[in-house]
């Protein structure tokens, strides 16, 4: 059994199969900041002042290092910054399958405290407007997700944490628990392969790949030697 879930869910599903130490380790696994997600339908592309941003797949809105560092610091203290750091993606500029001809999509989020239900739409749109005056007039549709809604959509995003747990120095090498193999649980035959294991969040499949290698070595040594 291999679980693409995070420690909290693994405890709920298979907790009774685990040793008390392993259960304790999973229970103290820490989740990090959440995200507030917004998707827009636009009548035209974002009217950035900067020509570079008009041709960029991703745009980071946050001005200086100091402003961004301050925004992330406040969030880690459980607050909502007035000028949040905002990440944007402009897929439809480069992929004409995303929106009707001449129209555009915009994808964005800002970080928020874990479990926050505050509606960040206004602060996020103000931040975009700051670098793209007239942005608000291009909006023809909008969809938002606060951290609760993201978790309801995908139970792996606990409190809106999209990395499956904090990747700080305490959990960089030991996610989800300090053991011989991070993918093995204390119960023979049960493994965890989600982004709560190394190397962590993002779409790369490396957590799953390493889990499978572990499973083959532990349980199917003959198959392990089958090279790909």
């Amino acid at each position: 059994m291999i679980f693409d879930v995070t420690p909290k869910q693994l405890l709920e599903i298979a907790g009774h199969k685990f040793s008390s130490i392993y259960k304790w380790q999973l229970a103290r696994y820490r989740y990090g900041m959440g995200v507030f997600k917004v998707d827009w339908a636009l009548s035209e592309q974002v009217p950035f002042k900067s020509d570079v941003c008009k041709q960029a797949g991703t745009v980071h809105i946050g001005n200086t290092f100091e402003e961004i560092a301050q925004s992330e610091y406040l969030i880690s203290k459980g607050q909502h910054p007035e000028k949040p750091f905002v990440l944007l993606a402009q897929q439809s500029l480069f992929d004409n399958t995303r929106a009707p001809k001449g129209k555009h999509t915009l994808w964005g989020y800002s970080h928020v405290p874990n479990g926050s239900t505050k509606d960040m739409t206004d602060s996020i749109e103000k931040q975009i407007e700051r670098f793209a005056p007239g942005f608000r007039d291009t909006i023809i549709g909008r969809h938002t997700y606060n951290t609760n809604q993201i978790e309801a959509y995908n139970p792996n995003y606990i409190g809106g944490d999209i990395n499956g747990g904090v990747i700080d120095i305490g959990q960089l090498f030991t996610r989800p628990a300090l053991r011989g193999s991070p993918f093995r649980t204390s119960s023979k035959g049960i493994y965890i392969c989600s982004s709560s294991t190394p190397p962590g969040g993002g779409v790369h499949g490396m957590c799953g790949y390493h889990t499978a290698e572990r499973v083959l070595k532990d349980l199917f040594p003959i198959h392990y030697s089958v090279k790909i």
Partner: protein, 255 residues
């Protein structure tokens, strides 16, 4: 519904990129594998849907895929033969400032560095060396702790990566260089004073200079669909609408 679990060597719960990668690797090794997904569609953080108006396709979670393209495992799967096409934007990243100027991350290290004023040489030295050693360390950086293939190269990366973004930013003097660094390290979802927050910024910029920050044609769902197609072509089975909320004894795979 789930009924024949014991016919399989392995059961994977969840069809995100990691669940599908694990399932494909096991199926490749000759095991019989079934993936159980709670939702009605597969993909985890790789789904695309019309969230706003008809005809507008939005990536519900992930959107930009530097790590999918740079993934040492996905590279071996020839996902293009399963319909996956990556598109490279003109600039990977734009970062605007209040004064109307902007910094950017281009595939070219030189072009990126040229836009950073007096930080040009610092940027060139840093990323030329990281781009050079990346092929020797990518497997190790993207893996659990173990003895590395090239310990010296990995140490060169590790000494920088383990610093905090706030410490490392001292290498940059210009607003452009510093702002660009802040945006890339903020992907760590932590205060930038935490140690090791430099790691994500270094990795994202380095792979940006090697393979770019692409978007998948049709949306992130295309990556999920290509992985599923690859898995099924090897004989793997997928069942959706199957939430595993508690332990079900029939989940025990045959052994």
């Amino acid at each position: 519904m789930i009924n024949h679990q014991s016919d399989y060597d392995a059961v994977v719960v969840g069809s995100g990129p990691n669940g599908l990668a694990a399932a494909i690797r096991l199926q490749q090794a000759g095991l019989s594998v079934i993936v159980l997904e709670g939702k009605e569609t597969i993909g985890g953080g790789m789904r695309t849907a019309e969230l706003t108006l008809p005809g507008f396709k939005h990536d519900i979670c992930s959107a930009i895929h530097p790590m999918a393209l740079a993934s040492p495992y996905f590279k071996t799967l020839n996902l293009d033969t399963h319909g996956l096409e990556y598109i490279q934007p003109r600039y990977n990243l734009g970062h605007p400032f209040d004064d109307g100027s902007s910094a950017f991350l281009d595939n070219s290290i030189e072009e990126t560095a040229n836009s950073l004023g007096v930080d040009k040489q610092t940027y060139l030295d840093l990323f030329r060396s990281l781009v050079n050693i990346w092929p020797d360390i990518d497997q190790d950086v993207l893996a659990p702790l173990h003895f590395p293939k090239d310990p010296v190269a990995l140490a060169k990366f590790g000494l920088k990566a383990l610093t905090s973004a706030s410490f490392f930013v001292g290498n940059f003097k210009t607003k452009q260089g510093r702002g660009l660094w802040a945006g890339n390290t903020a992907h760590s979802l932590q205060p930038l004073t935490n140690i090791s927050t430099s790691a994500i910024g270094l990795v994202l910029s380095t792979v940006g200079h090697i393979s770019g920050w692409p978007i998948p044609k049709g949306g992130s769902q295309s990556i999920a669909d290509a992985l599923a197609s690859c898995f099924k072509s090897l004989g793997g089975k997928i069942e959706t609408n199957t939430w595993i909320k508690s332990w079900i004894s029939c989940l025990k795979p045959k052994q």
